[in-house]
């Protein structure tokens, strides 16, 4: 990989943090045959939950000595940093989690603590980014037409300190070409069907760039959920939708192999009919948008929750829409920021969590050891409010 003189200097900098970050970017560039480093607009750093990275990660991050030179945003942590006691998070966990967050903030990261950085600072078409957090990667690439590989927490952090990323993978035009067509025969009318589609084809299109054909136009909500589920189930970092996503018309797809999808609900029947009795309903994987919060507000009008009902969104959205959050809280919903049902150990004490997210459906059993039941937002509200 070609390095400019300035980049060479960083590779031999006196500051070990800068040297290490540069070594990381050069190593990744070498592994993937990148030709050079390119500037990034922003970074999204994952792997900041104390439960994931432990003392080794905490000490490593605290030992860093440099500032981010581009906008640096961070993923959800293991708890709501204000209402952690309500989540039964113990003090030791709280302290260690705060040390990780504070170390990142002291380096110049913004305390976004969300997996939806695209709602905080929406990138533009063609922007180069270094984002970890798979749902944000697939959203930025597919819905916006920005360019990012699936970074790890540490490679995104290194890019934030250097301001650059190796030029390979989805930064390069030819790698954004579709590799397989997915013909969906039925209309996708809900976020549940978008999740199910992701669960059904996720593994089949892992490591591919799928090109979807739908009989109807999908909403932002449905595309967000589809992307999150595809990236959790397979490794999808980019998909195109005919007639909808910003790059769909750039490519000739005539010779591509086709996957036909029909009878989604039927294909997924066994999973849908899982009979566990939900003791928690949890929405917000990925973090809810303002629009999703408004929808929930409409669905719960004049009602009061009869079961534990947790909602996760970003602190920024909570600040912006205090009215909405207060109204939801007054109906017995707990609205948490800074974390989610998948990264927080707080959800481990439940047996069966009802969710409307294909991504949470993949990760809750794996990471939190709980049963997950998937349904649409309407059914989740019915379960939580009408019994």
């Amino acid at each position: 990989m070609y390095l400019t003189k300035d980049e060479e200097r960083l590779l031999h900098a006196d500051n070990p943090t800068i040297r290490k970050c540069m070594e990381i970017l050069v190593a990744i560039g070498e592994i993937f045959n990148a030709d050079r480093l390119i500037n990034v607009k922003s970074v999204q750093i994952s792997g900041i939950s104390y439960q994931n990275i432990g003392d080794a990660g905490l000490e490593w991050i605290e030992g860093l000595n440099a500032k981010f030179v581009v906008k640096a945003m961070i993923n959800p942590a293991g708890m709501d940093i204000r209402r952690w006691r309500e989540m039964d998070i113990d003090k030791d966990f709280y302290r260690k989690q705060m040390r990780i967050i504070n170390a990142l903030i002291s380096m110049g990261a913004e305390s976004t603590l969300t997996c939806t950085p695209y709602y905080i600072e929406k990138p533009s078409f063609g922007d180069h980014l270094a984002w970890a957090e798979s749902n944000a990667v697939v959203y930025a690439n597919s819905l916006i037409g920005a360019r990012t590989n699936r970074e790890s927490g540490i490679s995104a952090l290194a890019s934030g300190i250097i301001g650059k990323t190796p030029n390979y993978g989805l930064h390069v035009d030819e790698n954004r070409e579709p590799t397989v067509i997915v013909n969906v025969k039925e209309k996708i009318r809900s976020e549940l069907l978008a999740s199910i589609l992701g669960l059904v084809v996720g593994e089949r299109v892992a490591n591919e760039v799928p090109y979807f054909r739908f009989p109807n136009t999908l909403s932002e909500w449905q595309l967000k959920v589809l992307g999150a589920t595809l990236s959790a189930k397979g490794n999808t970092a980019l998909f195109h939708v005919e007639g909808q996503t910003p790059e769909w018309s750039k490519f000739d797809v005539r010779s591509l192999e086709k996957i036909e999808i029909d009878g989604l609900k039927h294909e997924f029947d066994q999973e849908l009919s899982k009979t566990c009795e939900p003791d928690l309903i949890a929405l917000g994987c990925p973090h809810l948008s303002e629009w999703e919060l408004e929808k929930l507000y409409e669905l719960t009008r004049d009602k009061r929750a009869k079961k534990e009902f947790w909602v996760f969104t970003s602190r920024e959205t909570m600040k912006k829409r205090g009215d909405l959050i207060n109204a939801l809280e007054s109906r017995g919903i707990k609205v948490f920021g800074d974390t989610c049902m998948v990264v927080s150990p707080a959800t481990e004490k439940f047996d069966c969590i009802m969710i409307n997210s294909g991504k949470a459906f993949v990760y809750l059993p794996k990471l939190r050891g709980v049963n997950a039941k998937i349904a649409g937002m309407e059914d989740c509200v019915r379960e939580g409010f009408n019994r």
Binding site: E23, I28, W60, I154
Partner: protein
């Protein structure tokens, strides 16, 4: 072919690509399977705990650990760092083709890592010296074992 001829046919200097720099000398342990530091090894002892591993039960700590490539979760990066801190980490890593989880783990843990190496040129138990301190990179076989 006699064993002495066989010996002559095996180079004692093997070229490689430097990913994480440094010099290391020690005994090599080879696995033919892709490895994840999250789950495949007990970080407190350095013993391989993956039951389907061809080196199940063996220790990689203090050795040069050679395996084809990495796999699995990026959290594995931090496991390598934890092993380095508790002195159970391998002293160097050799891969056929490395990948970012192992590469980043080796860099932040300051463990030499080289790749682009044909692992069939090595035998478990051989003493190796890895030179990955400059732009050039090679592995020296110090005492060669043959089948």
């Amino acid at each position: 072919m006699s064993s002495s001829q066989y010996n002559k046919n095996r180079e004692s200097r093997i070229p490689c690509r430097k990913i994480s720099g440094g010099v290391a000398e020690g005994e090599v342990i080879i696995s033919r399977k892709n490895f994840s530091f999250l789950g495949d090894v007990d970080p407190d002892t350095g013993k391989v705990v993956a039951e389907d591993s061809d080196i199940y039960g063996e220790s990689i700590s203090g050795k040069i650990f050679a395996f084809p490539s990495g796999r699995g979760s990026t959290v594995g990066t931090y496991v390598l760092l934890r092993m380095k801190k508790s002195k159970t980490a391998p002293i160097a890593i050799i891969n056929e083709i490395t990948e970012p989880i192992i590469a980043v783990g080796a860099i932040i843990s300051e463990i030499p890592l080289v790749d682009m190496v044909d692992l069939s040129l090595l035998r478990t138990g051989e003493r190796l010296r890895i030179h990955a301190d400059r732009a050039k990179c090679h592995i020296e076989i110090l005492d060669r074992l043959d089948r």
